[in-house]
């Protein structure tokens, strides 16, 4: 078990480089972008029961940017939901640990995603259900910035504020890069804060790699649904992957893998 969210984040970073290397799979940049967010969410914020994942008092986490499956698998393993050896199943023939996050046979995953724009409406349903039942369970949903192109999210954004779902927190991984180009050159999101505010959400901006900022963003009291716009760097922690569209799809192999692992060892120090 880790002593600090930072330790968990480091574990997640190294795990996702290892997993995308072993699986020859994509999205390492997207995974590194959210390692800190996931670490703080699971280590410091959510009320969870790794030995009893379906515990009725648990808080719910939905990874809507399902392409970062490796990152959530690593986080769950780091939090003790399952043995880290299980991560070797990722992307392998015959395994159920798919590249995009799957709940089937993976303890702790609440909801499978992969097609963007699905997580937030579902998170709204969970939050609304708990609210109607008078429960205190919290719901967190992590979106990518590119995912905010999907109209279904904005249907849900309207819904959450209309029904006062203050038990719902959205985090947007705002690394400003999509699959082919920057968000600015693809479908611009700015003024992003104003957009969420005008939909009657409580908006907090923070550095998505600063654990203290993330923690205070989570704990800040809210009366409306809350969105944390986390400014992040795609590929964070591996210098040659940072802010490069290439690393949305490229898998770390050969020297690139060795160099990435060395950088991540040094990152810890």
């Amino acid at each position: 078990m880790f002593k600090h969210s930072q330790d968990l984040a480091n574990f997640v970073r190294k795990s996702v480089v290892q997993m995308t290397h072993d699986g020859n799979s994509s999205h390492v940049g997207s995974c590194l972008s959210i390692a800190d967010i996931l670490a703080v969410t699971y280590f410091d914020y959510l009320n969870i029961f790794p030995n009893e994942p379906s515990h009725k008092d648990r808080d719910w986490f939905i990874l809507s940017k399902g392409h970062a499956g490796a990152a959530i698998y690593a986080t769950l393993s780091g939090m003790g939901y399952f043995n880290k050896n299980f991560l070797k199943q990722h992307y392998q023939n015959g395994s159920m640990m798919s590249g995009h996050v799957s709940h089937k046979s993976i303890p702790g995953v609440e909801f499978s995603t992969g097609s963007l724009g699905h997580g937030l409406p579902v998170a709204c349903g969970i939050a609304h259900g708990h609210k109607l039942d008078g429960n205190n369970n919290k719901v967190v949903c992590l979106l990518s910035d590119g995912e905010c192109n999907e109209g279904s999210n904005w249907e849900a954004v309207l819904y959450a504020s209309h029904f006062d779902l203050s038990n719902l927190t959205v985090i947007v991984d705002y690394n400003k890069l999509q699959s082919l180009d920057s968000t600015e050159n693809t479908i611009s999101l700015e003024p992003f804060v104003d957009k969420w505010s005008s939909f009657e959400w409580d908006v907090i901006e923070c550095d998505g790699h600063n654990h203290d900022e993330l923690k205070s963003a989570f704990t800040k009291k809210n009366n409306k649904p809350k969105v944390i716009i986390a400014h992040t760097t795609k590929g964070h922690g591996v210098s040659f992957m940072e802010n490069k569209v290439l690393w949305h799809y490229r898998s770390p192999q050969g020297e690139e893998y060795d160099d990435a692992m060395i950088e991540l060892e040094n990152y810890e120090k």
Partner: protein, 305 residues
């Protein structure tokens, strides 16, 4: 049929606090009493069918039995991927109730013609599809669907047939029903268009010719053990549906015949010929226009006499 189904839902909700009735800002004159009676079990999600189905899935993940209600293609095709990825993949107890099957809203134009719905939905794994033709079949469909821990679709039609028009008694389940026993020829249909079948049967009765009539209130999963022996009795089969012929009832019946070595002398498939209807009109008018009315059935059967 839509009143019958909502009344039934109201009755079931009295004893079941896990039921959630979600509407997509539709149901004027139908849903108000439920809304008033069960405030905490009713949500108008607004005009947002992707969100409607996503919210339904979230509620379903908490163990609730959820109904989404809208018309035509809105809570089916508009949110097809949500039905597939969210509700079906996660085995949500969701019942999709779409009123306005076929040309129910014929005058409103092509956007409101639900003429490909069950063909598209039946391709999705593990979905149950109800196609009731009478109020009583609709009520049974609602009852059965809530007991199924996965996604069900109930196609509700503006038209319906009257159970008192035959003598086999009201439905006790959604298995294939032989409403009339014929000699050599049978009409098989789904939904309110079975009424056209009744008209055709009456016509032939007058000339002492007994035509069979089968209603299929549930087309997936199909009850082969009931349907196959029924099909085997007949030499001529006429299928009738207010739906594209592609992947419709005609396809289903031909699949069953082929798989079970049933070789009728004649199969006629009456349905929509892979087209949109830009012409508008009421349900009866558009059936006539698309050659899926009682006269079209009569012509088919006369051609084989």
């Amino acid at each position: 049929m839509r009143n019958s189904i909502v009344n039934k839902l109201e009755e079931l909700t009295k004893d079941d606090s896990s039921i959630m009735f979600l509407v997509g800002d539709l149901g004027f004159g139908v849903i108000e009493r439920f809304q008033k009676k069960f405030k905490k079990q009713f949500i108008n999600v607004g005009v947002a069918e992707q969100n409607l189905t996503g919210v339904a899935t979230g509620l379903g993940l908490l163990g609730k039995k959820v109904i989404t209600y809208s018309i035509g293609n809105f809570n089916t095709l508009r949110c097809l991927e949500q039905i597939r990825n969210d509700a079906l993949y996660h085995n949500i107890n969701l019942t999709i109730v779409s009123v306005g099957g076929g040309f129910s809203y014929g005058q409103l134009g092509y956007s409101h013609h639900a003429t490909e719905d069950y063909g598209i939905l039946r391709t999705l794994p593990n979905i149950t599809i109800f196609t009731p033709g009478s109020r009583e079949e609709a009520i049974i469909s609602m009852e059965e669907s809530l007991k199924i821990d996965s996604v069900c679709y109930i196609r509700i039609d503006k038209s319906h047939f009257f159970e008192e028009n035959h003598c086999i008694g009201n439905p006790i389940n959604t298995e294939p029903r032989e409403l009339f026993v014929g000699d050599k020829t049978v009409i098989i249909g789904v939904g309110g268009i079975l009424d056209e079948g009744f008209e055709a049967i009456e016509y032939f009765k007058k000339i002492n010719h007994n035509i069979g009539l089968i209603s299929l209130p549930k087309i997936k999963p199909m009850s082969y053990s009931v349907l196959v022996p029924l099909l085997k009795k007949y030499k001529n089969i006429v299928t009738i549906e207010e739906h594209n012929l592609i992947n419709g009832l005609s396809t289903i019946i031909k699949e069953i015949c082929f798989d079970n070595n049933i070789i009728p002398d004649n199969i006629f498939n009456l349905g929509i010929q892979d087209s949109f209807s830009s012409i508008v009109g009421d349900q009866k008018f558009l059936r006539k226009k698309n050659d899926i009315d009682s006269n079209s059935i009569i012509k088919c059967i006369e051609s084989i006499q």
